[in-house]
């Protein structure tokens, strides 16, 4: 197992959205800070830094995780996926993103990246969830703007395979 000393800056390398990234950080640096301020991937947001709001959710080896409760060194050698990795290289939105736009599932958009990442993980494992299951996953996130109605509608639409039609 890799050992890092408390005050030492170490090099941390992992793949971010399929591309190799690397940077130096103290062992205590949070993954949120590393992504945002060392790598410059600012799509992942920080809403509480205590694990409640879900804004900072990313995928680590395909599994949703709170990056504010993760140290950057813990990502060493892993595959990290963030909101920047969802759209096609030409910028075209994926089905989940399109459904969010169509159903007005975001206002300020600050909570949105984390919610997209949670459902990216969840829908991969359960492509056709019930509404209760959708609400269950969403209850791990706080959104102050939307009242959640549009988000539930968007995920329902995409899981029903008809992100084009507002329900």
């Amino acid at each position: 197992m890799r050992r890092v000393n408390k005050d030492e800056r170490t090099r941390i390398s992992f793949t971010l959205n399929g591309r190799a990234v690397s940077g130096e950080a103290e062992s205590r640096m949070l993954l949120t800070d590393f992504l945002r301020h060392v790598i410059g991937a600012t799509g992942t947001h920080v809403g509480c830094e205590h694990g409640v709001c879900g804004c900072c959710t990313v995928l680590i080896d395909g599994v949703a995780a709170r990056s504010c409760l993760t140290l950057a060194v813990q990502a060493e050698g892993r595959a990290v996926t963030t909101v920047e990795g969802l759209a096609a290289p030409d910028g075209a939105l994926n089905a989940l993103q399109q459904a969010f736009q169509r159903h007005h599932a975001l206002q300020c958009g600050f909570c949105t990246p984390g919610i997209l990442m949670s459902f990216t993980d969840y829908l991969a494992r359960n492509p056709h969830p019930t509404e209760d299951e959708i609400r269950d996953v969403l209850s791990g996130h706080l959104c102050r703007c939307t009242g959640y109605a549009g988000i539930v509608a968007a995920v329902r639409a995409v899981s029903a395979g008809n992100s084009k039609q507002p329900s």
Partner: protein, 808 residues
């Protein structure tokens, strides 16, 4: 269902009034937002961390920063003494010796008050250093209860004021004494509105730079306005406004009023930049935000009605005691006065007396919050109306309907001076209860009650003001004092439309982005005028006080967008359109009256084949100014300025038209209270809105859903709690309960559109309504379910259990 009455909009294209999806979304959905903390900063930028008071009330004896300063990477530790030397206290709306600086000076007055600022090369180092700063306090007795704070024996927050109750103003409209003398019954109630915030998911961010060559500050902050606070910040920094350049980032992670209160930190970071000679960045964390950012004011209202036996309200008396916490920050006491004109709500009540009191306590300072005085007022009025029904043995809905302002009385001047522009309240209520909705609620109630459950039905009828009169706050002063200070009134909105040589259209405006979708709506408005696709209109809203057109009313607050800035954009685009029509008429050899704008063309209405591409006409203005029609000014940039004349200053007898537009909301709901756990389940909720003409129904519904969730939060969950010693007990999202999706019940939204005759687009403010109506509606339903009079928000199981303990 969408009940549309005729629109006054005169919309030319299909761009406006349709549920267009938002142009903001693709970037935000892709992690390409540009929020304050995402933007690059100059190399060498330092990072700040605020040291905060653990005491509610204490003298600061000594701050020893030596050990912190010895830590490598620490640039400065700034204290109240520095701030006192370099800045002036913030101006306040009241003549009272309540001095607040950006750091505590000599004493602290609430838990979380900023005491010192550590500035270091990274945030991590700044936080390390903060642990080494030794602050010695001498704790004093604190007071958190507003009534106790009014007592003569209470510890004083600001001893120079000699009292904590720093303002008492009495207002009399009509002949209220006669109304009470004529009444069959007087029905009274005391209502408590709690402290809470709508905690945007993004906290405060400030990046400040000092420019020594001209002594100016360049500050980026996720400030939301009102920009009436800009002079307050500039004065505190002792510079003219031009030397405080304030820039707003392109995106903001929500605001709901809360991000006005980043303003003290703008000043603090600016001073830190001056002291250190380096740019300084500060990012607030959630614990700081909950303890010290901002709260809505709590209010105790004693309200009584003079009523006839059939439930007609002849007169009202309100005594409103509002608790602003430790300081009165500008533009406070806004919430206490913003509703002054509409203090009689949706009802035709000609006589009213109001006493407004302001008290200070050892809690975080209160400030703007969505709803802004409406939730407090309507909880009192709507609870009272329910009590009138109960005490007179009448049907609650009948009492509401008996008192609503009748449609034929619009435009309606309220007793306190508001000019309600338009409305048909009775029809809105009829529609909402129609289609079997009320019958269904009653059926649910009867079934539940028959099964021994606690079920109640609640109603609320509220008037939602939009676009504040900048003069309303001066109602706080006596007529004489107003005279001396000079008249205050109006509200100026501005938007600029610019067309480039290829016909590209860009728009900027005097609003700050918070997530409402203003870019989309502005693009719809301008596209509508110019016959273009909204997708072709580029809207940039990064307000910059050094370069943009703005007035003291600028910012996004009090629902000023639809009745204000939207109109300014409409005016600017209409003027540009006139100009382009003149150019095209010349070239097409037709009269300007025959010109129409459609499908990206400027063409003859009578002969659409006689057409020019839009870009070509625009190009003429750029490339060949000599070819312009005689007398036409060159250039294709227009700033629309909108200043509605109805926003007059307060009259000498204190009547004030507090806002320009007045929408209407009627809510009804059914709730079930669990007899064992006392948790409240909202079974069905219907919300009817009349916000005039809807500019974008998709966005409008989004605003209603969002405000509704916050209304539910206020009714059932959120509260900032202090103990009697002023300790703060809601310091994390584990203690301060922001509802998740599981707590938000389904909502049925209905619309009626009664256009405002006072704005060219017919649109009214509409984004705050359910923050006002929902707490009252739920409180009424719970009161109905439990058969009780006093229901305090939030209606938590703990509270309801205490309320019901001892009842059979």
């Amino acid at each position: 269902m969408n009940v549309r009455s005729q629109s006054s909009g005169d919309f030319l294209s299909q761009a406006l009034g349709i549920p267009l999806v938002r142009k903001e979304d693709p970037a935000l959905l892709s992690g390409r937002g540009r929020y304050a903390d995402d933007l690059p900063v100059a190399s060498g930028t330092l990072h700040a961390h605020v040291i905060r008071s653990p005491h509610a009330h204490a003298k600061i004896l000594k701050i020893d920063a030596a050990a912190a300063l010895a830590l490598p990477g620490v640039a400065a530790v700034i204290t109240g003494e520095d701030v006192r030397q370099l800045t002036d206290p913030f101006l306040i709306a009241l003549k009272a010796p309540v001095h607040q600086w950006s750091l505590a000076v000599e004493q602290v007055r609430y838990v979380g008050e900023a005491v010192a600022l550590v500035v270091a090369e990274s945030r991590y180092v700044a936080e390390d250093a903060a642990e080494l700063v030794q602050v010695d306090y001498d704790p004093m007795e604190a007071v958190t209860d507003p009534l106790a704070a009014c007592d003569k024996s209470a510890p004083l927050l600001h001893p120079a004021c000699k009292t904590n109750e720093i303002s008492v103003r009495k207002f009399a409209y009509g002949d209220t004494a006669a109304a009470f003398a004529a009444a069959d019954r007087v029905i009274a109630l005391t209502v408590d509105y709690p402290r809470l915030s709508f905690t945007p998911m993004e906290c405060y961010v400030v990046v400040a730079e000092y420019r020594p060559h001209d002594g100016s500050y360049d500050v980026l902050a996720n400030f939301q306005g009102p920009f009436s606070t800009h002079p307050v910040m500039a004065k505190a920094l002792r510079v003219p406004g031009t030397r405080l350049r304030l820039r707003i980032p392109p995106d903001s992670g929500g605001s709901f009023g809360i991000k006005l209160s980043v303003s003290p930190y703008v000043v603090l970071a600016a001073i830190a930049a001056k002291i250190t000679g380096r740019p300084v960045k500060w990012v607030e964390d959630r614990a700081e935000h909950l303890a010290a950012a901002s709260s809505g004011p709590n209010r105790i209202t004693r309200i009584e009605a003079a009523a006839t036996l059939d439930g007609r309200i002849l007169g009202l008396r309100l005594d409103q005691l509002e608790d602003y916490g430790a300081f009165l920050r500008a533009p406070m006491p806004g919430p206490l006065y913003r509703m002054q004109g509409s203090v009689t709500g949706a009802y035709d009540i000609p006589n009213v007396e109001v006493t407004n009191r302001i008290v200070l306590t050892n809690k975080m300072p209160a400030s703007l919050i969505r709803g802004f005085g409406g939730p407090q007022l309507y909880l009192a009025i709507e609870r009272l109306v329910q009590r009138i029904a109960v005490e007179l043995g009448l049907d609650h809905l009948d009492v509401i309907r008996r008192n609503l302002i009748p449609a034929e009385k619009f435009p309606y001047r309220t007793a306190a001076g508001a000019l309600y522009d338009s409305g048909d309240y009775a029809r809105a209520v009829a529609t909402a209860i129609g289609d079997g909705r009320l019958d269904d609620l009653k059926r649910r109630r009867d079934t539940a009650r028959a099964a021994g459950k606690l079920y109640g039905i609640g109603f609320a009828a509220v008037v939602e003001p939009g676009m504040s009169n900048m003069g309303y706050l001066s109602t706080l002063l006596t007529a004489d004092a107003r005279e001396r200070a000079g008249p205050k009134n109006g509200a100026v909105s501005m938007a600029t439309v610019n067309i480039d040589p290829l016909g590209g259209v860009s728009v900027s405006a005097d609003v700050t982005v918070q997530g409402q979708g203003h870019q989309t709506v502005l693009s719809q408005i301008v596209a509508d005028r110019l016959g273009l696709d909204p997708a072709d209109i580029k809207v940039t809203l990064e307000l910059d006080t050094a370069k943009d057109a703005w007035s003291i009313a600028a910012g996004t607050y009090s629902c000023r967008f639809s009745p204000g800035t939207a109109v300014a954009a409409h005016i600017a685009a209409t003027r540009i359109r006139g100009r382009l029509a003149g150019i095209a008429a010349n070239q097409l050899n037709v009269l300007p009256d025959d010109i129409e704008f459609a499908d990206g063309q400027v063409r003859s209405r009578s002969n659409p084949d006689n057409a020019l591409p839009f870009g070509r006409v625009a190009g003429t203005a750029h490339w060949s100014p000599v070819m312009l029609p005689d007398g036409m000014a060159p250039g294709l940039s227009e700033t629309g300025v909108w200043s509605p004349p109805e926003l007059e200053p307060p009259t000498s007898d204190d009547r004030i038209n507090t806002s320009l537009t007045y929408g209407f909301i009627f809510d009804m709901c059914g709730v079930e209270v669990d007899p064992v756990t006392f948790s409240v389940r909202v079974d069905r909720y219907v919300s009817m809105h009349d916000a005039g003409t809807l500019l974008n129904p998709l966005i409008a519904d989004g605003q209603v859903h969002g405000a509704f969730a916050q209304g539910i939060a206020a009714a059932l969950y959120e509260e900032f709690v202090y103990d009697e010693n002023g300790n703060f007990l809601s310091g994390s999202f584990a203690d301060y309960l922001v509802p998740t999706v599981s707590e938000i019940p389904p909502l049925e939204i209905l619309h009626q559109e009664t256009p405002s005759p006072l704005t060219p687009l017919g649109a009214k403010g509409m984004a705050e309504g359910n923050c006002m109506s929902t707490p009252a509606c739920i409180a009424n339903a719970v009161a109905d379910a439990l058969g009780v009079k006093d229901v305090s928000l939030p209606l938590t199981p703990l509270r309801l259990h205490a309320l019901m303990a001892g009842k059979p």
